[in-house]
Symmetry: C2
């Protein structure tokens, strides 16, 4: 009767994927999940679309309720239970019930830490004002949604021009607000190179977003009701009825660190390919755990639902006694702003330089599908390959409808360690209304080979 109980901390992508996978492989083991928030298993990536009104109800973002997990999979999910401490030597965790404020210890045989991330919230004057939101949970998304519906803000300032910033800009424009976006960096979407970001910035401006780049947030001013009124940067004062923080996220690894568990890249919990931490019978998965980058060959902190789900699968298999290894990531991500699709994978120039790599680069403009057909939109593709070997290092895509998911071709090519030449001769699909006879990705690869 060994390892009878798996305790999971965190009931989102990684935690619930692992629990579900384990349950499919092992019908007997007891699975107990503690979740600080009010909802397990919600789509965090759906929050901007909830606020923008495309998703009609927050309920639609919830994959399963605790009742469903219990009934269908015999997985017990305790919401509003915060884990305060891990006691590695006694194999137990200290839990605070947010419902009745009681604390209790819970034993485990295996423990999976799937605590995710928290939004970075700078310690600045006025950051606690009403009307300032960051998204850490479905609750925070719902609060912002309720606040907007009640107070009908007219002017919004978004802090941070990354994925959340861009998606929230679309959502708030859609609600009719005047939207400003500030970023400390001189570009939006800093995971892409400046030449690609310029296309995005130009489009955002055209669609009515006021961009204030290379500006540092200094404080937020409030009115008498302690509601945010002005965003102050080192260069500018911007009126704001609503402020969205999209500065970035940090892994929730504090309780692991406090328990003496090894911390790795970017403050994420160190794991091996099986997703074991440095402590026996303790696993970590999802945003709070590091991932191996297949192109750079280094561990990184990456916060993505796709990776979290895969981590969960691997952890679930291994906790059941199986053997699985997570092969790693290539750093693929995608977003869209209105009709502009934006994606990236592998290393950017910036990252390749940081790695001290000698690379070739190609940047091409083409059309998403045959340009002799109506509505074919522009697509820009950037590709990097290693100078000596020709091995692909990364790609970036910005373009109209149908452009963004072309990144997957590059992602698979990176995973397979293909060269630019391999990609030129890849057998990609062509029909005039869906692609050119040379897919834009291949046009970029041809440019590289030259």
């Amino acid at each position: 009767m060994k390892n009878e109980l798996l305790v999971v901390i965190g009931a989102n992508a990684a935690g619930m994927s692992a629990a579900s996978k384990l349950r499919r492989l092992d019908t007997k083991k007891k699975i107990l999940v503690f979740e600080k928030g009010k909802h397990p298993s919600f789509s965090a990536c759906g929050i901007p679309y909830l606020i923008g009104g495309e998703v009609k109800s927050a309920k639609n973002l919830i994959a399963r309720t605790p009742e469903e997990f219990l009934l269908n999979q015999n997985i017990e999910v305790k919401i509003q239970h915060e884990v305060l401490e891990i006691d590695v030597s006694k194999k137990r965790i200290l839990i605070l019930s947010l419902l009745d404020k009681t604390e209790f210890w819970q034993k485990y045989d295996d423990l999976l830490i799937a605590t995710g991330t928290s939004p970075i919230s700078p310690k600045l004057p006025g950051i606690e004002a009403k009307g300032v939101f960051a998204f850490s949970s479905l609750e925070s998304g719902k609060s912002a949604d309720r606040y907007i519906q009640k107070h009908q803000p007219k002017t919004a300032v978004i802090i941070g021009g990354g994925y959340i910033g861009i998606e929230m800009a679309e959502a708030l424009l859609h609600l009719g607000m005047k939207v400003s976006l500030i970023d400390m960096a001189p570009q939006v979407m800093a995971t892409l190179d400046p030449d690609m970001s310029e296309i995005i910035a130009a489009y955002m401006k055209k669609e009515g977003v006021d961009l204030f780049l290379g500006q540092k947030l200094e404080s937020l001013e409030m009115d008498d009701s302690r509601t945010v009124s002005v965003v102050v940067t080192d260069k500018k004062r911007i009126k704001a009825d609503l402020v969205i923080l999209g500065i970035g996220v940090k892994p929730n690894s504090k309780i692991a660190e406090a328990a003496g568990i090894q911390i790795g890249a970017g403050g994420a919990i160190q794991v091996n390919k099986k997703l074991e931490t440095s402590a026996e019978h303790i696993w970590a998965a999802g945003d709070c755990a590091e991932s191996y980058h297949l192109v750079s060959g280094k561990e990184i902190f990456i916060s993505l639902g796709t990776v979290a789900n895969k981590h969960g699968q691997i952890a679930g298999i291994n906790i059941s006694g199986g053997k699985a290894e997570f092969p790693g990531v290539v750093g693929t991500a995608i977003t869209k702003f209105k009709d502009l699709e934006i994606s990236r994978t592998g290393l950017s120039e910036k990252e390749a330089n940081q790695e001290g790599m000698d690379y070739d680069v190609a940047l091409i403009e083409s059309s998403v599908f045959s340009s002799y057909l109506p509505d074919s939109e522009k697509i820009t593709v950037k590709l990097l390959s290693e100078k000596a070997s020709g091995r692909l290092l990364g790609g970036q895509i910005v373009g109209g409808k149908g452009a963004g998911k072309r990144i997957d071709v590059i992602a698979i090519a990176l995973q397979a360690k293909m060269t630019a030449r391999d990609l030129v001769f890849a057998d990609l699909a062509y029909v005039p209304p869906l692609s050119g006879v040379w897919d834009p990705v291949q046009i970029a690869a041809r440019q590289l080979v030259k």
Copy 2:
């Protein structure tokens, strides 16, 4: 002064790609191209969209005119010149000028055969009737277009439910015709398996196409003006003011065969990976030449613009004295019928059975992007993998907007000889309005791994 002159037979994708590539690598060699038709370098795949009216003028389908080739690239293209004979021993070809009906011999140092394909036209009563069209050239597309505009046919019958048949069905429906489609096979799109084809057939019926499957064309009846009036199958008589033949194509390899050049798979000209034929200094590229299939490991006849362009590149490099090998194809193809996108790559079940392979198969239904957003359409993905090794063998996709090009991910995975498991853990891009957190292709791969 050796190999000073390259003569090319056929001025389309393969021929002109080779000529252009050679010119970039060698500014001195003389390049002379003979083309039977009136236009070099046109997009054959664009013809259905010309007829449907989405492409406003046939001119838009022409990439470059002979004058432009001469002026910009110093490539001489002689249109309306048919090559009648290849004299291998004397390194010369016999040419008939269709302009003045004269014949003459032309010497070559290197000869590239890029004669493409011809539509299969069954020898049946009435096949010569007015109002019956098959597409072998831009001219034939233009004739059909002119005929339709002049005679305003009300009822059309399409013979053959393959790529051209499906695309022409969309075009003719768009023009307001009553469209019937007959096929000898019991399914449309025979390059996909019946379970996938059923989805297509159901959608086509819903959109108003009358399907007559498992019916053999026996004859065409004409009226007094020798215009087609009725299509007669072994089971049915169908009224028709217009008939489109989309039965298939055969490689134009007769003059090569007559010259003693080795013929290979499906009647296409046998070539090695350098695209050399069995005769010295004679190359073949494009639809008329065979290709190596990376999954089955066999040579095949495949007729696709994408492959023709790549063949042309390889031939151009090798004729210039460089060294390049065409790695092969995986059999990727795509089409769409109205809002339904249809794609396939690798081996179908039918083909895997023909190869005597032991395979697993998964077929899943999902949504193109997150189903909690409006307008997310259904996608069905079928995947095959080898039982023993788990290596992917092929994939088929049918679904709404954004579904079709997902096939490229599978195509690259086939090229890289990936397993279903590799695909499960691939780092594909996710944002709710463009994909699910597990891409549908990965959901199918997960199903396979189970």
